[in-house]
């Protein structure tokens, strides 16, 4: 079993909203998670872990939020503007850096991890780049030649447990049914 990128993106977006993000950032979360998945990286897991943490710790904290900070970089179209902050799941920054990278390649560093990214790809392929705590993140221009990763047109079966976590968070956006809403719903048989 695998998931289409479209349904994973919609699910990730709903989950982010369920975890308390504004709609616009929830859309960015869906984009980021599936951009990583399409390159074989653990976007769904990173987002699920981050969102669970967000819910447990009382809501989105913009200064630690990779989606909030990543969106800001993307908006400015300049990765060098990334402020010196400590972020949850910094891997979620990569899609935004990539979007804003233009013709350059950028190197992002946290803990003992380092990734290079440009407009289309990421190097190295490393699915263990998740982090349990906030990490201080550095960024610099890089001369690295990126190796093209395999393309993953689906979200792979081993993401199941994190898809389920996102599904649970997405449920927070659904209104409990009432008799009244059922009666006012759409349709019936002839």
């Amino acid at each position: 079993m695998s998931w289409s990128l479209v349904e994973a993106r919609a699910l990730a977006q709903k989950a982010a909203r369920g975890a308390g993000m504004h709609w616009g950032h929830a859309e960015e979360a869906g984009f980021a998670a599936t951009w990583l998945e399409a390159r074989g990286l653990s976007g769904i897991e990173a987002l699920a872990r981050y969102l669970e943490n967000t819910v447990q710790s009382g809501g989105v904290k913009p200064n630690h939020c990779p989606i909030f900070q990543g969106s800001a970089i993307s908006d400015c179209n300049d990765p060098s503007l990334l402020p010196a902050l400590s972020l949850y799941q910094p891997i979620l920054l990569l899609p935004f850096i990539a979007a804003a990278s233009g013709t350059d390649t950028w190197r992002i560093i946290w803990g003992d991890k380092a990734f290079s990214t440009n407009a289309s790809d990421v190097y190295p392929f490393d699915r263990t780049a998740l982090s349990e705590q906030i990490e201080s993140v550095g960024i610099e221009k890089s001369e690295a030649q990126l190796q093209i990763n395999d393309c993953y047109p689906r979200v792979q079966a081993d993401r199941k447990v994190f898809i389920e976590k996102l599904t649970k968070l997405a449920h927070r956006t659904y209104a409990p049914s009432t008799e009244e809403s059922r009666a006012k719903g759409a349709g019936g048989a002839d």
């Binding site: 079993m1 695998s2 998931w3 289409s4 990128l5 479209v6 349904e7 504004h22 709609w23 616009g24 950032h25 859309e27 960015e28 984009f31 913009p62 909030f68 969106s71 800001a72 993307s74 908006d75 400015c76 179209n77 979007a99 047109p153 689906r154 449920h171 956006t173 659904y174 209104a175 409990p176 049914s177 009432t178 009244e180 809403s181 059922r182 006012k184 719903g185 759409a186 349709g187 019936g188 048989a189 002839d190």
Partner: protein, 565 residues
């Protein structure tokens, strides 16, 4: 056919988005040459697609599996149909149903035995099952209780059903959902979007529905044979053609038009471009004039056969009939012999016809001009990802101007009044379907979906006023992340002016059926039959050729009923 055409694209007399994108007008749209079912059948005919039925394993109760294979110039697709034994009391058109008479999937290529076995474990479960990247569409259909058993019985006894009875319902089965584009595990749209045969919109979905129509006839004839044995007869072809596939569409479809502005722009822009081109035809010959007169009479027959019990629709149909009568009268005058005849006719229509009649006229005007119109179907899709990123370097004065340009109409709405914000779009926990609730009567506001761009634009505007013109969108969004979705939308509208509905989608008097009608008209539905203000029944492919007739019947000639001699 001769026609003199003088147009340059940049000078087309396009109708303004503020005129077109009003719910009342959108709720009056009719199918046209650009409707997706017609686009599909034109292609299948032009490219001489081949059809067969490799498998038909149904038992005496009509339970089993059948496959329908279609071969085009480059690729093959297969509809896999599962027929079930559904007790009458379980038959429901609601999305929340859990069992259906028939379930379907469209497979990329030809399914193996293993594929069919896997699909048989999943497709009958619909939303509760999973399909894979090798499948494009998931769908199901239920019998029309009124007609299905009757037709089986009559055929079993060796007779043909009454045409009147067939026309009264128009279909033997109706689909209650047709899912595509990555839903429930299906292949992402991006995997097939570049295939020539699926250019445009919703082509895999509508290919499935067309094949389902054939399966339903095969199922009925099979059951008649099981019941009547040698006495049973097949359905006469002219009668068979009068049967389409019914469809019940509820609120689930309504948010689509709001959630996909660049796609909606592409649809509307194609139709408006076609209209503008036809208005610029300088002169037409007698043949076109005569054909057009006949077409109006055929549209009249279609309208006379259009029944609805919904008060609003009854009035609209009556208006339409009177409009079409006025139209046939005006065609007896010299109007079409004047220069730019269809421009004159269009302008006459604006003055004398209801919105329903005006939009019918627009659709009719496109019919005589395949050379001007049909190629535009290739423009009716959108790369939505390309519009996703926000330009944060845009100065706020530009954003303020865009808000005024696209949402100036909201100045006339008092969003502090309860009537203006009476509704809430939300998703129910029960079956994850979109619903429309009452803000002041139900505890649902916390679950509100962002499907009210007018109100959200006003909120954005009110915060923007506190900021200096020279500051940037990026700086504004750091302080106001709650406006991010609207800023994205507004920036995307600059290249998609028809992408926004210029009406309040949460107003007390808003009619969701207007949204449904607009979308279904682009699919190619005829005779919309609203059953309330929030769901509508339609018939798809009524009068269209079946696969075994496509080679010798022009599907475009079937869009309106034939004139009776």
């Amino acid at each position: 056919m001769t026609q003199e055409i003088h147009f340059e694209n940049e000078n087309l007399p396009m109708r303004a988005p503020e005129q077109v994108m009003r719910l009342e007008r959108m709720g009056s749209f009719h199918q046209s040459r650009l409707s997706f079912m017609r686009v599909l059948l034109r292609r299948l005919k032009r490219e001489n697609w081949q059809f067969d039925r490799p498998r038909f394993d149904l038992d005496e109760n009509g339970v089993g599996v059948a496959t329908y294979r279609v071969k085009g110039p480059q690729r093959t697709y297969t509809l896999v149909a599962f027929a079930h034994d559904l007790p009458d009391e379980m038959r429901s058109d609601r999305v929340i149903a859990e069992a259906w008479d028939t379930t379907f999937t469209l497979v990329d290529g030809e399914p193996s035995e293993e594929d069919i076995s896997r699909l048989s474990q999943n497709v009958p479960l619909q939303e509760a099952g999973r399909i894979s990247e090798h499948e494009f569409v998931l769908s199901r259909a239920n019998r029309s209780v009124r007609l299905f058993d009757h037709v089986v019985d009559v055929l079993a006894s060796g007779k043909q059903p009454d045409a009147e009875k067939i026309d009264a319902t128009g279909y033997l089965m109706r689909t209650t959902a047709v899912y595509g584009s990555g839903k429930f595990g299906a292949a992402d749209r991006s995997t097939w979007a570049n295939r020539e045969e699926f250019s445009g919109s919703f082509q895999p979905e509508l290919l499935s529905v067309w094949l389902i129509r054939t399966f339903v006839i095969d199922l009925v004839e099979h059951l008649a044979r099981m019941k009547g044995g040698d006495r049973a007869v097949r359905l006469d072809k002219p009668l068979r053609r009068r049967l389409g596939i019914g469809n019940s569409t509820g609120l689930g479809m309504a948010p689509f038009l709001i959630n996909h502005p660049s796609l909606i722009h592409a649809w509307i822009n194609a139709r408006e471009t076609a209209l503008a081109r036809v208005r610029l035809v300088a002169k037409i010959d007698d043949e076109i004039m005569q054909d057009f007169g006949q077409l109006v009479e055929r549209a009249k027959i279609n309208t006379e056969n259009w029944s609805s019990e919904h008060a609003l629709q009854v009035k609209k149909v009556a208006d339409l009939l009177s409009d079409l009568t006025k139209l046939s009268e005006i065609l007896k005058t010299e109007l079409l012999t004047n220069p730019y005849p269809f421009n004159g006719l269009y302008e006459w229509g604006v003055k004398h016809l209801s919105l329903e009649g005006q939009e019918q006229l627009v659709s009719l005007m496109l019919e005589p001009f395949p050379d001007l119109v049909d190629e535009l179907s290739q423009t009716m899709s959108a790369d939505e990802g390309g519009q996703f990123r926000i330009n944060g370097r845009m100065p706020l004065f530009e954003l303020k101007d865009l808000v005024t340009e696209f949402y100036g109409w909201t100045n006339l709405i008092d969003f502090s009044s309860p009537e203006a914000i009476a509704r809430v779009w939300y998703t129910s926990e029960e079956k994850l379907e979109p619903r429309l609730g009452e803000r002041f009567e139900e505890p649902i506001e916390a679950y509100e979906q962002p499907l009210c761009p007018g109100r959200d634009a006003r909120r954005l505007h009110s915060d923007l006023r506190k900021w200096q013109d020279g500051e940037t969108v990026a700086a504004f969004l750091l302080k106001h992340p709650e406006h991010r979705h609207m800023v994205r939308r507004i920036q995307a509208l600059t290249s998609n002016p028809y992408g926004e509905i210029r009406d309040n989608t949460i107003a007390a008097e808003m009619l969701p059926i207007d949204l449904l009608r607009c979308k279904l008209s682009f699919f190619g539905a005829t005779k919309f039959d609203p059953r309330s203000d929030r769901w509508v029944r339609i018939t798809m492919y009524q009068n269209a050729p079946y696969p075994d007739e496509l080679a010798f019947i022009d599907p475009d000639d079937c869009a309106y009923p034939a004139l009776t001699k």
